[in-house]
Symmetry: C2
Subunit: 347 residues, 2 copies
C-alpha cells in the first residue's frame, strides 16, 4: 500500500515575491506534505534524495523577486524554494546513481526531493572531509572563489589584494588563496568578531570593520598606501566607488556579487568609473556556472590543502528546516559568521 | 648674428587652469615670441621642428586642469600647451633625424618647437597619403581605435557593436573596422549631419542622434533588439548606464574615453553596474600608449585599406594657430565634424 511507504516531507514554501526591501520570515512558510520514497513509476533518469544540508547563498535574493529575463528563475509562490545542498540518494532510476550515493547540487528546501534532471549534480567522492563542506568550501562557493580569483583576477605573487564581505562563504577562501600565492591581503567585514576571524583564523594581513569607517576611501588608503592590484567584489555600491579611486594601474576587479544592492529598489550610484581609463582597470563579472568544468582540478588542489591544514573554513550552521528562512534572510543583515548552511538531517 | 636666424614663433599659451566647466578661449592666449631655427649649441639628441598640423584630442581636457598624480601632466601656466602633431625637422643633433624629415608625436602648440627627447616620436615613412592623417587616422586616434577594438574588445564576425561619439576621430574608425570584420554596427552622435555621415559615409548599419532621444535605454533597445556584444565607450555617464542594461551575456566594453564627464565637477552616477555579474561583462579601460609597439603592424594593415578605399576618414580642419583654442574647446560642445585638427602651416 502507498500509505506504508509515504513519509512526512516538511518544506520551506514561498508565500509571496519580495521585489525590494529585506525579506521577512513570513514571506516563506513551513508546510508539511508527504512523499513516497520511490521515484514515481515511469519516471526515467530521476533520483529521489533525502536532503542533509542546504546552502544559503546571496544570489537566492534575486530568486525571491518576481523576475523576467534574468539568468535565474524566480521561486514559485506555493512551491518549496530550492538551492544548493548536500543530499543522499534514497531511490534512483538513473544509471549513474544508486541508493546511498551522496550528491551536491540544486535540490529543494524540504526533507526529500525528487530530482528529474540529475545530470547537473555532482557526485561526492571524498567523504573523509566534513560533508557540510560540500555546501560551501567544496561546493558552489569554493568554486566561485577558485574561478574568480585564479581565472578572473590573474593574480601574481606580491600583489595587493582586497576582499569585501571577506569572512563570508566565498571571501574567506579568496583571502586564503591569495595568501597561499604570496599576496598582501586585506579584508573588510561588518563586525569585530568577523574582523578578528580574518586576521587570526584566515591569516589576512589586515582587516577592518566597514561599519566603523566613516570614510571608506580613507580606510582603503590606510590599508593600501600603494593602492590595490586586485579587488574581489562581493558588495558593490559605495564600497566599489571607494575601491575604484584606490586601484593601481592595470588593476583587476572580479565582480562576484554586490550583496549591498540586492534589497534596494534604486541601485546605489557609482561615480568613479572614469578611473578605469587612466588606471587601465579590467572589471569583469562572472558566474561560477561557467567554470564547473574546472571542478575536478579544484578538488585535486583543495583536498590536500584541507588535509594539510593550509585551508580552513568557518561555517555557521542553522539546525532544522524551520530555521532556514531566518538563516537565508540573515545573509542580508550580516547575521551569519562564515558560510551559512542549514542542517536538515545529519544522515 | 643671432638676429638673422631668429623668426617669429606664435604660441598658444595657457593663462589659467580650468578644473571644471567648459574651457573658454580666454583661458588661453596667442602670444608671439621668437626662436632661432637651430638646436641650441651643446644640446645633444634634440630636434627643432616646424609644426604643420596639430591634433585636438579630448584627453587634453584633463591637462587643462591643475592635476596631481594623474597619468598626464597639467599644462603649465604661461607656457605653450602641447599635444600630438605633425611636424618637419628644421635642425637636428640627433642621429636618427635630419633636416626635412617628417614626424608625428608630441609637439608644442606653436609654430616651431625644440624637442629634446625625440625618441618618443614616430618618423613618417608613407607620404603618399594625406599628411594630416598622421594627426588622426595614422596617428594616436587611429592606434586607439585599432588597439581598443582588436586588442580590448576581442571582436568576432557577426557580433553587435555599438560606438558612441561615433563620428569622432576614434569612433568613425572603430565603426569601419567593425564593418570590415563583418559585425553589425550602430553609432550615436550629436547632430543630424553626423548621423548622416555614420550611415552614408562610414557604412554603419544604423545610427541615432542621442540629443533627440528622450530615453537612451529605449533607443538602444530599438537599435539592438538582441542586445549589444561590444560597446566602444567614448562618452560615459548616462550613456554608459543605458548600455549596461542592454549588453548581452559575455559582452565587452572597451573604455576609451568618457568625454561627457571631463568638464564636470561632480561625475555622473552610474546605477547599472550590477548587470556586469549576470551578463558576465568585461569592462576594460585602456590607454593607447600601452599599444604603440603595434604601430608598424597597424600601418601594414591600414595603408592598403586607405589606398583601396576601404577605410575613409573625415577631418575637420581649423586654419591657423589663432583658431586652435576654439577648435580644442569645440570638442566638448561637439562642434567638430570628424577628426579635429589645426593647420599651422601647409609645408
Amino acid at each position: 500500500m502507498a500509505g506504508e511507504e509515504s513519509v512526512r516531507n516538511k518544506q520551506v514554501v514561498l508565500k509571496n515575491h519580495v521585489d525590494a526591501g529585506l525579506p521577512k520570515e513570513s514571506d516563506m512558510e513551513i508546510k508539511e506534505s508527504s512523499i513516497r520514497l520511490k521515484v514515481p513509476e515511469g519516471t526515467k533518469d530521476a533520483i529521489l534524495v533525502k536532503n542533509l544540508y542546504l546552502s544559503c547563498d546571496p544570489y537566492m535574493r534575486n530568486r525571491l523577486k518576481k523576475l523576467q529575463g534574468s539568468y535565474v528563475a524566480s521561486f514559485q509562490i506555493g512551491s518549496p524554494i530550492n538551492g544548493y545542498g548536500v543530499a543522499k540518494v534514497v531511490d534512483s532510476t538513473h544509471s549513474g546513481y544508486k541508493k546511498g550515493d551522496l550528491i551536491w547540487g540544486i535540490t529543494g528546501w524540504e526533507e526529500y526531493t525528487l530530482i528529474t534532471a540529475p545530470d547537473t549534480l555532482f557526485k561526492i567522492q571524498h567523504t573523509d572531509v566534513p560533508l557540510t563542506y560540500y555546501t560551501g568550501l567544496l561546493g558552489m562557493a569554493g568554486m566561485t572563489a577558485y574561478a574568480g580569483f585564479y581565472e578572473i583576477c590573474s593574480p601574481k605573487k606580491g600583489e595587493y589584494v582586497y576582499v569585501s564581505a571577506a569572512s563570508g562563504a566565498v571571501g574567506q577562501l579568496v583571502g586564503q588563496f591569495a595568501k597561499l600565492l604570496g599576496c598582501y591581503v586585506v579584508g573588510s567585514a561588518g563586525s569585530k568578531e568577523k574582523v578578528d576571524l580574518l586576521k587570526n583564523k584566515f591569516g589576512f594581513d589586515a582587516a577592518f570593520n566597514y561599519k566603523e569607517e566613516p570614510d571608506l576611501d580613507a580606510a582603503l588608503k590606510r590599508c593600501f598606501p600603494e593602492g590595490i592590484d586586485i579587488y574581489f567584489e562581493n558588495v558593490g555600491g559605495k564600497m566599489l566607488d571607494a575601491v575604484l579611486a584606490n586601484m593601481r594601474v592595470h588593476g583587476r576587479i572580479a565582480a562576484c556579487g554586490m550583496i549591498s544592492q540586492y534589497n534596494k529598489e534604486q541601485l546605489d550610484a557609482v561615480h568613479n568609473l572614469i578611473y578605469i581609463i587612466p588606471k587601465r582597470i579590467r572589471m569583469q563579472g562572472f558566474l561560477v556556472t561557467d567554470f564547473y568544468h574546472l571542478y575536478p582540478k579544484y578538488l585535486e588542489t583543495i583536498i590536500p590543502h584541507i588535509k594539510e591544514g593550509k585551508i580552513t573554513y568557518v561555517e555557521d550552521k542553522a539546525e532544522g528546516l524551520e530555521s532556514a528562512p531566518a538563516a537565508l534572510i540573515g545573509l542580508f543583515t550580516g547575521r551569519n559568521v562564515g558560510k551559512q548552511l542549514v542542517v536538515v538531517s545529519h544522515d
